[in-house]
Structure formats: C-alpha cells, structure tokens
Amino acid sequence: MSFLEIDHLTKHFRVHKGLFGAEEETVKAVEDVTLSLEKGEILGLVGESGCGKTTLSRLIMQLLPPTSGSVVLQGERLAALPPEEIRMRRIDFQMVFQDPYASLNPRLTVFSTLAEAIRTRHPESFGDNLARRVGELMRRVGLEPRYMKKYPHEFSGGQRQRIAIARALATEPKLIIADEPVSALDVSIQSQILNLLMNLSKDLDLTMLFISHDLAVVHYVADRIAVMYQGRIVELGDADEVFHHPKEAYTRQLLEAVPRIEYQNAS
C-alpha cells in the first residue's frame, strides 16, 4: 500500500456554449489518471499549460469533486469521508500555490497567517509558545523572525513564497502539493526555493507532488517524473530515465523546448 494512491481519477467540466448555453460541451481536464506516491518521495508532474496539472492538484486537495475515481491517502478513501471529516483531515495535506502575490491574505501579518495555521494542529498553543513556534517556522524557511509583524506586501516574491511554504508546513502535513511554486519567481530566486523544498522534504520526510511545466526544474527536484498530456499521464518513470531517455514523442518535444546553453570550444 502506497502512501498516496490516485486511482483512475477523472474530471470532466461541462461548458455551455452558444445562445443561452444551448450547446453543451465536455472538457476532459483529467482523464483516467492513476499514480502512486511512496512516503518521502518527490514525484514531479510535467506538462504544458492547460494539460490538467492544476485540476489534478485541486482534485487531490479535495478542492474539486472528481467525476469518477478516487484519492486514497494512507489507505483511506478521502471522497468517502463526510465533509466535516475531510475538513479535519485537511491539515495532513497542504499546498504551495503558484502565485505568491495572491496566495497570502494581504490583511494579515506573517505572524497572524502562520499562527492561524499552527493552531489547526496545536489549538492549545498561544502567547509565548505560539510566538516561538512561528519564529521556528520562519527560521526553517529562511526568514528572519523579527519580520513576523510585517505584511505580505512588504516582502519580495521569493520571501512571500517562503511564507507560503511556512504556512503549508505549519500544520505539520505529510503530503505537500507544490503547484508551479517557482514559475512566478525570478530565475535567480527559483533555485533557492527549489533547494528549500528539497531540503524540507528530506528533513521532515515529506511526500511531495511537484508540478511544473519546466522539465529541467522537475528533473532537478523530483525522484520520479510523470508526464501529462491532454489530461492523461503519457509517461512515468525514474527522473533521470525520463529526462535522458524519454520514450514518448511528447516528452521529447518537451525536452526540446528546454533552452540549453551550448559551449563552443575557443580553439
């Protein structure tokens, strides 16, 4: 039994078109996806935009109801649980979002954001104890604790993403879904955030689903890579294997889209 099993997960959206929505069309966002993640593993999910990566992440997070199929976390079928039970269970799986400018509540200080999340796991924590936990969390993601009373708009994009990661860690989750966590950041900041995520995964024995459109980034982070195309997983395998010896034509296309620096011998 794997840590997380995604079993024939399917999501269709109905789109109304034409005059008064008379014509109905079905968009197959996620089509029969089966994946499994082992504990402590980082699985990379790549694909072009619009291929269903984000929908898949929302399905796993139980933010969207699936059309069919199921998500099984530690042997428990999530969709079978009553809504209130799912709400309690949410602290076990957290998400890091793409846009650090939209993923933090602009009206709350870093302290409020983190303290609120910490109290979902430790409702008894308050006062000095809570402040210490917030400080530890900030240090863990590489932020100075003395900035805890500042607001999100006073931080840079990379720092904000660190706050978002700290918030995801605050509930002490077992699974983290990172949906394009670096694509909104400067290239120079990207590697810092990627290293942070990899170190956290190692230190805290976190299982992670890392979603990106950039095969090079995924190859850097992930143990295994799944390639998604038009709602389906077209290739799945060891990260080096997929990156260096892709089997599918689509994966090769993705690889060719990665810009490379070629050195010329100055002879």
Partner: protein, 308 residues
C-alpha cells in the same frame, strides 16, 4: 536575504520585532497627503463634535449662554439679526437659531450614522454570505435584494408611518431597509472575485470553517470599497431624512432635524432668510465634506484608479 547560517543563529523569539504597515494604514497615510480630503475630514469632525457635545453645554456655566435651550421662546426678542446673545440670530418665536441648528444637527447626524451603520452591517454580512455561497443560495438571496430594490421607497415609508405612527426608530428601519441593498450587491461582487484568489483556496485547504473564511479572510479584504461606500451613504441617508422631514414624514416637532429646520426656514424665506440660510449652510457643508472625503478615500484605498 541573509544566508541560512546567520538566520539559524538568530533568536526564535526576537527581542525587537519590526512593525509592518498594514494596507489600511497605508491608505490613511495616502489620504493625509490629500489636502482637500483632510480639510473635509476636519470640518466634518468639527461639525459632528459640536452637534454631539453642544447639547451638554447647558450643564457648564459660561457655556450655557452660547447654546441656550433650543425650544425656549423669547417673544420680546423675535427675528433678531446675529448678535452677542443670539450668535446666529433668533427666529419668529425668539428661539436661538444657532442652538436649534446644533440640536437639529445631532438628530440628522445620528440618523445618518446609525442608519448607515445598520445598513452597512446587514449589507456586508448578507452580501458576503451570498457571494461565498454561490449557486442556488446566492440566486435566492439576490432575488430578495432585487425585490427590495423595486419597492417604491416613499410609498413604503408612508405606509409604515400610517401603520405605526410617526416615530424616530421607523426612520432608521425604513432608511436602513433601503440602503443595505446596494451595499450587499457591492460586497457580493467583491467576495466573488476575492474567493477565486489562491489565499482563499489556501484557507480552505487549511481546513478553516466557512464562517472563519468569510469573516477573517474575505470581509477584511473588502474594507476599501466598504469604507468608501459608507462615507457616501451617510450623506445620502441624511438627505433622505431631510426629504422625509421636509414632507412631514420624518422627525416631528418639538424635535427638529436639519430637514425640518430647512422646511421651517423655507416657509419664512422672505421675512426671515436667516432661518433657511444657516441650517442649509451646515447641512450642505456636511454633505459636501462627506462626499469629498469619500472621493479621497477611494483614491487612497485604490491608488491605481486615481486620476493623477
């Protein structure tokens, strides 16, 4: 960003925490740079302070003479021009106009502020729930709003006053019932766009309750439009009260509001222009200030939309 090693050596609970600037404080700082809005804020504050503190002057010797009983008549000193005893003159019954304006202003401002407070509270909560719930709940809640919108206000007030008699609380109910509807629509629109943002998804994934998400994460983010609309609602409510009082449906004598004072003044416009002019000046100044303040607040909360 300093490197990881130095951060690890820092105390977890820092001795000195750097205070951040909240968005609301940011807006306040920006508003302070807007001269016209600040002047309007101070003029409004002065008028409001005078109207709310003024009626207590009668307990203070020395100040008692400035604001005498607004209903005391002095038939020997009728229709006087402004002088040392009657700062703004006296009316046809020898009542002090300044005192009547201040006491009337208290009623007008109270109706304006309380009715607005009631309608804003109802409107914000109703709109937020409707926008967050979406689907069928939203549709039903908004149809109720549509029905309220289509009710003729004047006829409703006339029916209410004939049913319950002329009472001040009826004014609050009638005005509140009309004004919250617009607020509910504004907030609903705001919430609908906010809830698509990732921080709300993050709040859902953290397992926060719906009530917590609405009141802690969504409503505080609508504060800009809400404050702006509030400062614009207060004058429109005061105007409504004045219209109702002018028609004889609002505040009844011996109580007076700026609306009833203006009506009385208009009746004696030719023989006693001071009776119309002074309440009208105070009333217009208040409305003017609130409208400009609202304008300034809009620019302060949403700097991108300002003209310059």
């Amino acid at each position: 960003m300093s490197d990881a090693a130095s951060i690890d050596s820092m105390p977890v609970v820092p001795e000195k925490v750097e205070k951040g600037t909240s968005l609301t404080r940011d807006a306040w700082l920006r508003l302070q740079k807007n001269k016209l809005a600040m002047i309007c804020l101070w003029v409004f504050a002065a008028i409001a302070a005078l109207c709310f503190i003024g009626p207590y002057f009668k307990y203070i010797p020395g100040l008692r003479e400035v604001l005498p009983d607004p209903n005391a008549t002095h038939l020997s000193e009728r229709s006087q021009l402004p002088n040392a005893t009657y700062l703004l003159g006296s009316d046809h019954l020898g009542r002090d106009i300044f005192s009547r304006v201040v006491h009337g202003g208290r009623v007008s401002l109270m109706v304006g502020l309380l009715a607005t407070l009631v309608s804003i509270t109802i409107g914000v909560v109703y709109g937020a729930i409707s926008g967050y719930a979406s689907g069928r709940t939203d549709a039903v809640m908004m149809r109720i709003v549509d029905i309220l919108y289509s009710m003729p206000f004047m006829i409703m007030v006339i029916i209410l006053t004939t049913m319950f008699g002329n009472q001040l609380w009826l004014l609050f109910v009638a005005i509140g019932a009309v004004e919250w509807v617009t607020m509910a629509r504004i907030v609903r629109g705001q919430i609908m766009s906010l809830k698509k943002q990732e921080f709300v998804e993050a709040a859902v994934s953290l397992g926060y309750s719906d009530a917590r998400i609405i009141f802690r994460h969504l409503i505080p983010n609508t504060i800009g439009p809400v404050i702006v609309y509030t400062t614009l609602t207060v004058p429109s409510v005061m105007l409504l009260e004045a219209v109702l009082s002018y028609l004889g449906l609002g505040v009844q004598p011996p109580d007076s509001s700026w609306g009833t004072l203006i009506k009385e003044g208009a009746d004696r416009m030719q023989s006693d222009p001071a009776l119309l002019v002074f309440p009208a000046i105070f009333f217009s100044a208040t409305l003017f200030c609130l409208n400009f303040l609202g304008d300034g607040l809009r620019d302060a909360f949403d700097p991108k939309s300002s003209k310059d």
